[in-house]
C-alpha cells in the first residue's frame, strides 16, 4: 500500500535524524571535543571525557528526547480526547498546572520520595489533573467540545496557574533563575536521576496508549458514535485523561514548561500520515523527541550562555499555532 511506504520512509528519515541528533549533542559543548575522543571512550574505554560525554551530554540529550516524546504523546492523546487538533498539554493548561504543583512542592520544602515517586511529581500530577478536569468540565456540553470554549478556558486556567507559580517564586526573592526554569523550561539541570523519573512513565503510558489506540480512533467521532461502535467510552476516557496528564506532569517536573511541542508535533504528523492513532502515537513520540533534542542543541549553542528552551519552541510554535487558527473553516 502507498501509505505504508510513506510511513516507512518517514520512519527512516526520523531514525537518521535521531542518530545524527544524538551524535551532534555528544560532540557539541563548551568543552572542545571531537569524534576521536568519543571513539576513544567507547572503544578504548579512555575515561578522560567520560563525565562530559556520559553524565553531561548524553543524559541531557536523552532527557530532552524523553520529554519531547512525552509531551508530544500527551498532545496526541489530548487532541483525540478533545476531538480537536488544536489541543495540547500547554494549550489546555496541564503544563502550567503541573508546573504550579512542582513549584509548590519545592516552596514547601517537601523533597521526599514515596514508593519511588518523588513528591514533586505527585504534586505536579495532582495540580495538572485538577486543571485539565476543570477545563474538561467547563468546555463540554452534552459530550461535545466547542473549540473556542476549550481554548479560552485552557488559556485562562493556564494563565492562572502560571501567575500562582510566579507568585510562589517571587516570595523566594533569590530565584530569578528558578522562575526562568519553571516558566520557560530548560534541560540545564539534567542528570540520570531525572531520566529515571521520566523514562518509566513514558514507556508505561506509551504502551497503554498503543493498547487503546483503536478506541481513540472511535472516540474522535464523538462519544455516542464511539459507544455505538462498541467502545467502552467512559473507562477509555478516564484512562486517557490520566496518562496524558501523567506524561505532561512528569515532563514538567524535570524540565519546566516547554510549550507548543505537544501541539504542533502531533498535528504535523497527522497531516503527514493521517489520523489513525495506531501510528500517530508512535510517530508523534519519536518526532517530538527529535524536535526537543535539536531545540535543546540550539538552546545551548546559539548564544554564549544557556537560552531557555521554551523560548525556542515558542518562537517556532506560536506562529504555527496562529497559522492553524487561520486555517480553520
Amino acid at each position: 500500500m502507498k501509505s505504508r511506504t510513506k510511513k516507512l520512509r518517514l520512519l527512516l528519515v526520523l531514525l537518521i535524524l535521531l542518530v545524527a541528533g544524538f551524535l551532534i549533542s555528544l560532540l557539541e559543548g563548551p568543552v572542545e571535543t571531537n569524534f576521536n575522543d568519543l571513539w576513544n571512550l567507547i572503544i578504548n574505554n579512555d575515561s578522560t571525557f567520560r563525565t562530559i560525554f556520559i553524565d553531561l551530554r548524553l543524559s541531557r540529550a536523552l532527557l530532552a528526547f524523553l520529554v519531547g516524546a512525552s509531551l508530544s504523546l500527551s498532545g496526541a492523546i489530548l487532541q483525540g480526547y478533545f476531538q480537536n487538533p488544536m489541543a495540547g498539554p500547554f494549550v489546555v493548561g496541564v503544563s502550567s498546572g503541573a508546573s504550579f504543583g512542582a513549584v509548590l512542592c519545592i516552596y514547601l520544602g517537601l523533597n521526599i520520595r514515596i514508593i519511588g515517586f518523588s513528591l514533586q511529581s505527585i504534586f505536579a500530577f495532582a495540580s495538572g489533573f485538577a486543571i485539565v478536569s476543570l477545563v474538561y468540565l467547563l468546555s463540554q456540553r452534552k459530550g461535545v467540545f466547542k473549540v473556542e470554549t476549550l481554548l479560552l478556558t485552557g488559556i485562562a486556567a493556564g494563565a492562572l496557574a502560571s501567575a500562582l507559580t510566579s507568585f510562589l517564586i517571587f516570595l523566594k526573592a533569590d530565584s530569578f533563575e528558578q522562575a526562568v526554569f519553571w516558566l520557560l523550561g530548560s534541560f540545564a539541570l539534567s542528570d540520570w536521576n531525572q531520566i529515571t523519573a521520566v523514562a518509566p512513565y513514558f514507556f508505561l503510558c506509551f504502551i497503554i496508549a498503543q493498547w487503546l489506540a483503536k478506541d481513540m480512533n472511535l472516540l474522535v467521532l464523538g462519544d455516542d458514535v464511539a459507544q455505538s461502535l462498541g467502545c467502552p467510552v467512559n473507562s477509555v476516557r478516564k484512562i486517557f485523561l490520566v496518562i496524558s496528564t501523567f506524561l505532561a506532569a512528569s515532563s514538567v517536573s524535570v524540565s519546566g514548561i516547554i510549550g507548543f511541542v505537544g501541539l504542533i508535533v502531533p498535528h504535523g504528523i497527522r497531516i503527514l500520515i493521517g489520523p489513525d492513532h495506531r501510528h500517530l502515537f508512535l510517530f508523534s513520540s519519536l518526532t517530538g523527541g527529535i524536535v526537543l533534542l535539536y531545540s535543546d542543541l540550539l538552546a545551548r549553542t546559539l548564544l554564549q550562555g544557556e537560552l531557555p528552551i521554551g523560548i525556542i519552541t515558542a518562537i517556532v510554535g506560536a506562529p504555527f499555532f496562529i497559522y492553524l487558527l487561520s486555517q480553520r473553516r
Binding site: Q227, L229, G230, P275
Partner: protein, 264 residues
C-alpha cells in the same frame, strides 16, 4: 428472532426527561419510521434505545436481554447506528471509516482479517461506494458521506440498523437513493430498520409502520395507510394538509396547503 421491546421508557438529558412513557416493540425484519416535529424527541428516542442516555428509566430489551446491563461491545453486535451528518476535524479515509465498524469483531491489536476485508468489500458494493475507497471523508458530498456511514453500520454486521434523519441535508435524488439502499438491506439482508425522518412522503412507501411522536409521547403507531390522515397530521405536526393517493404506490401522500395570510 430479532426483537426490541420498550416498556415505560422515560429518558432525557441533565435537565430532565424529553421522552415520557414510551412503550412499543420493534418487530423482526420491519422498517419503522419515527416522525414528528423538531424537538419532539425523535433523536432522543434513537439514542435512548441504544442506552446512550444516562438519564433514563423504564425497560428496554434486545432479544430478551436488558440493554442497560449489556456492555458497549455486546450491544454493538446487536444494533448499528447511523448518526446525523456531522462535520469532522479528523480526516479519516472511507476505508478507515468503514473498518471502524469492524472494531467489535477484532482484537485490540489485531489488524484487518480476511473476514473483515470480505465484509468491507461487500458493504461497499451494497452501498455503491467502491470507487471512493481511498478518498477522505471530508472531501465527499453529503450523499456519498451518508452512504459511507451506512456502510460502516453494515460492517458492524448487526440485526438492527438505527438511522437518525438519514436524508437530512440531501437533495431529492440522494434522498430516494438512500431509501432504496435501506429497502434493499431490509429485503436482502433481513435488517430490522428504525429510522427518524422529517419528510413524510419520502418514508411512506418504504415503511411498514410509522410512529408519530409529539412532545415526547407516542401519538400514533401503525401502518401508513391508517395513520396518514388529515386529522393526525394536523394534530402531530400542526400543519394543514390534504391527503391524496400517490399515483405510483397507491399509498397515501400529503399535499401541503399554503397558509393564508393570518389575521392579527
Amino acid at each position: 428472532m430479532a426483537l426490541i421491546e420498550v416498556k415505560d421508557l422515560s429518558a432525557g438529558y441533565e435537565n430532565g426527561y424529553v421522552l415520557e412513557n414510551i412503550s412499543f416493540s420493534l418487530k423482526d425484519g420491519e422498517f419503522l419510521s419515527i416522525l414528528g416535529r423538531n424537538g419532539s424527541g425523535k433523536s432522543t428516542l434513537i439514542k435512548a434505545l441504544q442506552g446512550l442516555l444516562k438519564n433514563a428509566s423504564g425497560q428496554i430489551t434486545v432479544d430478551g436481554e436488558d440493554i442497560f446491563s449489556l456492555k458497549a461491545r455486546q450491544l454493538a453486535k446487536k444494533i448499528a447506528y447511523v448518526p446525523q451528518i456531522f462535520s469532522f476535524s479528523f480526516e479519516f479515509s472511507v476505508m478507515e471509516t468503514i473498518l471502524m465498524g469492524r472494531y467489535i469483531h477484532q482484537g485490540r491489536l489485531e489488524s484487518i482479517s480476511s473476514s473483515d476485508s470480505r465484509m468491507v468489500e461487500e458493504v461497499m458494493s451494497l452501498t455503491q461506494i467502491d470507487h471512493l475507497k481511498d478518498k477522505k471523508i471530508a472531501h465527499l458530498s453529503g450523499g456519498e458521506r451518508q452512504r459511507v456511514f451506512i456502510a460502516r453500520a453494515l460492517a458492524q454486521d448487526t440485526p438492527f440498523l438505527f438511522l437518525d434523519e438519514p436524508s437530512s441535508h440531501l437533495d431529492i435524488s440522494y434522498q430516494v437513493e438512500i431509501y432504496q439502499i435501506l429497502k434493499r438491506l431490509q429485503e436482502e439482508k433481513g435488517k430490522t430498520i428504525l429510522s427518524t425522518e422529517h419528510n413524510i412522503n419520502l418514508v411512506i412507501p418504504y415503511s411498514q409502520r410509522l410512529m408519530f411522536l409529539k412532545e415526547g409521547k407516542i401519538r400514533a403507531l401503525g401502518e401508513p395507510e391508517k395513520l396518514v390522515t388529515k386529522e393526525n397530521i394536523k394534530e402531530v405536526f400542526d400543519a394543514d394538509v390534504e391527503i391524496r393517493e400517490n399515483i405510483h404506490s397507491k399509498l397515501p401522500e400529503i399535499s401541503l396547503i399554503p397558509k393564508e395570510g393570518e389575521k392579527s
